[in-house]
Amino acid sequence: MLPAIFYEIIKNFLYYNNLTLMIIDEVFKLIFGQDFIQMTDNFVEISDLYFTRNDHWIFRDISLCIPRGKIVAIMGPSGSGKTTLLRLISAQLYPRRGQVLVNGTDIHSLNQTDLYKIRNSMGMLFQSGALFTNIDVFENVAFPLRERTKLPEDIIRSVVLMQLEAVGLRGARDLMPSELSGGMARRVALARALVLNPQLMMYDEPFTGQDPITMGVLVKLIRSLNDNLGLTSIIVSHDVAETMSIADYVYVIADTRIIGEGTPEQVLNDKSPMVAQFIHGLADGPVAFHYPANKYQEDLQL
């Protein structure tokens, strides 16, 4: 406790750039043999990120922060790179330029062992669910426990059933993934992502394909995980109403950059034409609904 306070004081006193911060961290690590770096308030910090795909810019100079313990929503039109952003944060993809700090470490500079250590504290709900198709629902949720822990079988069983109960699928435990509906599969995937109690949860479109009742339950679940377990969450979605009701902070990305950010109220009342168009779902406006293309008339050869 005392070293932690000491660390905060020194840091605030000496802090003027990232390098000194790093040196302070290292010195403290040497003296106390313990990482204080997680005391910083942003779980994820992205700075000056550039990313391309097939000579096609996805991000140009994006910077954003995900504060610890908060729910941050990333919104934007389809194809604007929201999923790509999550993949960059979890180091499934590597940026052209720029840095992603997760819990204070540059995640793209790690070797496999250290990367897996950090990934132990991350959970990700894939847009497609990505369940293992050769094992049933129960085994899918039990998979991370069996692989990453040495828990005895009866504890695994209770943990898995608890997780499945939370997403309302305890009765479906013996079904195979191919026997689930799309919405059910995503809820199983959610249970699986949560089963190791990650510190950072990334939800890629958690509400898509859910009925209004389930949607309400999921919103409550995500909120209560954050409030009770101190999770940090990133929600990717284009469900404006649901996302606004749950998020603490919202980033809107479109056209390779961040076009708006703020608390839900700020974003809802944003006067900039691009944000307003996206939030209110207007067809006409500066945000392109189309993937970049040449003139429509030319393509049709009129």
């Binding site: 990934r119 894939f126 497609s128 293992f132 198709t133 998979f143 692989e147 990453r148 190791l196």
Partner: protein, 260 residues
């Protein structure tokens, strides 16, 4: 002309690149901290899928090959009045060549293609990525058990193939065409040398097992993530696997006959 050279260069480069990538891929699958206790049940599970389920096709084709060999061999040997040499003829050709090569080709078609399709589909549906997100290395959890299962199964399957083929030739040669059973077996026993024939045959089987399984898991892992991509990868597994078997068979045989 310039274009031709350019294309040649491009093909050469991409060949070198894929050899390098697949070599790295293999070394990352094989050379890693052994966690045998965890790996063992996974390998057993895969030996069932890769090896045991290939048994039917291996046994049936072994039987037919043996029977055909006996028929053909009997016809030729009869001209020289040497039908009692049938056992020797069948045993040597099966153990030295036909067993490893045909067994390998069948394995590439049956087990190799299904390995590629399975891994490719796991790649397409993001199962491997989600595994990585759980800090479980798919190379260790998915690829390595399948690789070892293939490497272990192939020599065993080839041994079974050889035995069944000899039994098939016994059925045709002795039971049907009336070669003397005692001469059939004793000639076979006298001519087959364990060190030279059997061990060399098994070495071939082991090499083919490594190469075919390597190609299969590599093609699956790096398949283009579309339905057509998986189809192409499966085809490539069978084509490259078969070509590799035939080419390597020539090299191994020349080394074995020439060097030893």
């Amino acid at each position: 002309m310039i274009l031709w050279i350019e294309n040649l260069g491009r093909i050469g480069l991409s060949f070198c690149q894929s050899v390098g990538v697949s070599g790295l891929f293999l070394s990352r699958t094989v050379f890693r901290k052994p966690r045998l206790i965890r790996l063992f049940p996974l390998v057993i599970e895969q030996i069932y899928a890769v090896g045991v389920l290939s048994m039917v096709i291996i046994v049936l084709s072994g039987l037919f090959i043996g029977m055909v060999l006996a028929l053909q061999g009997y016809n030729i040997l009869e001209r020289f009045g040497a039908v009692e040499q049938l056992g020797q003829l069948v045993a040597l050709s099966v153990v030295r060549e036909l067993g490893p090569v045909i067994g390998g080709l069948l394995f590439a078609g049956r087990a190799g293609s299904s390995l590629t399709a399975e891994i490719g589909l796991m790649q397409v549906t993001e199962q491997l990525t989600s595994m990585e997100m759980m800090a479980v290395d798919p190379l260790w959890r998915v690829i390595s058990p399948r690789f070892w299962a293939g490497v272990i199964s192939m020599p065993v399957l080839i041994a079974i193939f050889c035995m069944v083929a000899m039994f098939g030739s016994y059925l045709v040669g002795v039971e049907w065409l009336g070669v003397d059973a005692g001469q059939f077996w004793s000639n076979m026993q006298a001519s087959v040398n364990f060190r030279i024939d059997v061990v060399n045959g098994l070495i071939k089987g082991l090499v083919f097992g490594i190469v075919v399984t390597w190609i299969a898991v590599y093609q699956g892992y790096y398949a283009v993530p579309t339905a057509a991509g998986i189809g192409r990868a499966t085809t490539k597994t069978v084509v490259y696997g078969s070509l590799a078997i035939l080419g390597l068979d020539f090299i191994l045989t020349s080394v074995m006959l020439g060097g030893w």
